[in-house]
Amino acid sequence: MDFNATLIGEMIAFAILIWFCVQFIWPHLTKAIEERQVKIAEGLSAAERAHAELKDADAKVADEIRKARQQASEIIDKAQQQANGILDKARADAIVEINRLKAVAQDDIAAMAQQAREQLRERVGALAVQGASKIVQREVDASTHKALLDQLAAEV
């Protein structure tokens, strides 16, 4: 073993290297690493939070959709009911109108039949008078026999 002054020189060099590393290398690198660790931890927790929020939002959306669907079916039901009501009312109105019109028509028919009967009676009376005058060969004074004629006409 041949020790010489190299030993002392290398010890000094080693000390300087350690000092340099303590002063200029280690702190910067560990600081960067620790900051990054914090960042990564924050990022992970943020992602977890976002995940939970997304779950919440999904549940909320599903709930909203369910509600909307329910509301829509309610509206459809109501509309159908309304339509049925309108239809029923229209039908009832139509029946009333039909009945009214039918009554009016029946009245008209009755009146016309009455009128026709009157006319027929008069004509029959007249014909009867004519026939009778022909039979008796003389003028039947309408005015003297008016009462008789009217009675006849009423009997027809």
């Binding site: 073993m1 041949d2 020790f3 010489n4 002054a5 190299t6 030993l7 002392i8 020189g9 290398e10 010890m11 060099a13 080693f14 000390a15 300087i16 290297l17 350690i18 340099f20 590393c21 303590v22 200029f24 290398i25 280690w26 702190p27 910067h28 690198l29 560990t30 600081k31 960067a32 690493i33 620790e34 900051e35 990054r36 960042k39």
Partner: protein
């Protein structure tokens, strides 16, 4: 092939000689410096500093660049090792472990350069001896382990105070009895001194032996002539490759062991018996 000129022995001896000029005058102040170890280790130390510092300077807590990510992986690996062993403020022990790990790894990695490359280059500049692996220099490994040893002492005093540490040195592990003080103290000294010695010798031994094996294999390249020579040449290539691949494991493990033991020793210094 004892030591005929140009033989394997001379080749290896040449490679195992440091570039160690004498500094200062002769006599008591005759000081030798292994300039090869110092040059390579300083270059690698500066490489480590510049590399990691350039990444640390523009380090962002956002998306890191690939360079930053790599540096961070190394740092977190080291920090994890420190965290496992040492419970306390890591603002000094962490960088210490990082420096030890990366620096020792880089110096060990010089072993993977072709064993003749750096000496061949320096020879062009008239420098005859140049050993490329600083951790195969006992001065280098002991420089680090003695520094760690000093840190162990400093940490012991800091954690236990002067009287506390002295109390521990004289009363542990056998017990507080005046007749046992001397044995306790001797045992503690042995334990204390064995730490830097084992730390330095382990790394030095591994790297030195690794370098030596590379040299022996490199010796195969010029070991024979004719067909046998070519066969040995091929064996040399295969051997060199295999040993190189295996050596990647060794240099990593040795750097790792040096780092972990540094942490363990220093955290032990803080523990109370």
């Amino acid at each position: 092939m004892a030591s005929e000129p140009g033989g394997l022995t001379e080749y290896i001896q040449h490679h195992l000689t440091h570039l160690a000029p004498q500094v200062g005058k002769g006599g008591f102040w005759a000081v030798h410096l292994n300039l090869d170890s110092i040059t390579v280790s300083l270059a690698l130390g500066i490489l480590f500093c510049v590399w990691f510092w350039s990444q640390a300077r523009k380090a962002t807590s956002g998306v890191p660049s690939k360079g930053q990510a790599f540096v961070e992986i190394v740092l977190e690996f080291v920090d994890g090792q420190v965290k496992d062993v040492f419970h306390g403020d890591r603002s000094f022990l962490g960088p210490l472990a990082l420096t030890v790990f990366v620096w020792v790894f880089l110096m060990n990695a010089m072993d993977l350069l072709p064993v003749d490359l750096l000496p061949w280059i320096t020879e062009k500049f008239g420098i005859g001896h140049f050993r490329a692996v600083p951790t195969a220099d006992i001065n280098m490994t002991f420089a680090m382990s003695v520094t760690v040893f000093l840190l162990i002492i400093v940490y012991s005093f800091k954690a236990k105070g002067f009287s506390g540490y002295m109390h521990e040195l004289f009363t542990a592990p056998f017990g507080n009895h005046p007749a046992l003080w001397i044995f306790n103290f001797l045992l503690n000294i042995v334990e204390l001194v064995s730490k830097p010695v084992s730390l330095a010798m382990r790394l030095f031994g591994n790297m030195y032996a690794g370098e030596l094996v590379f040299m022996l294999i490199a010796g195969l390249f010029s070991a024979g002539a004719g067909v046998a020579g070519w066969a040995l040449y091929g064996a040399g290539i295969i051997g060199y490759t295999l040993w190189g691949i295996f050596h990647i494991l060794i240099i990593s493990i040795q750097a790792f062991i040096f780092m972990v033991l540094t942490i363990v020793y220093i955290s032990m210094a803080q523990d109370h018996h």
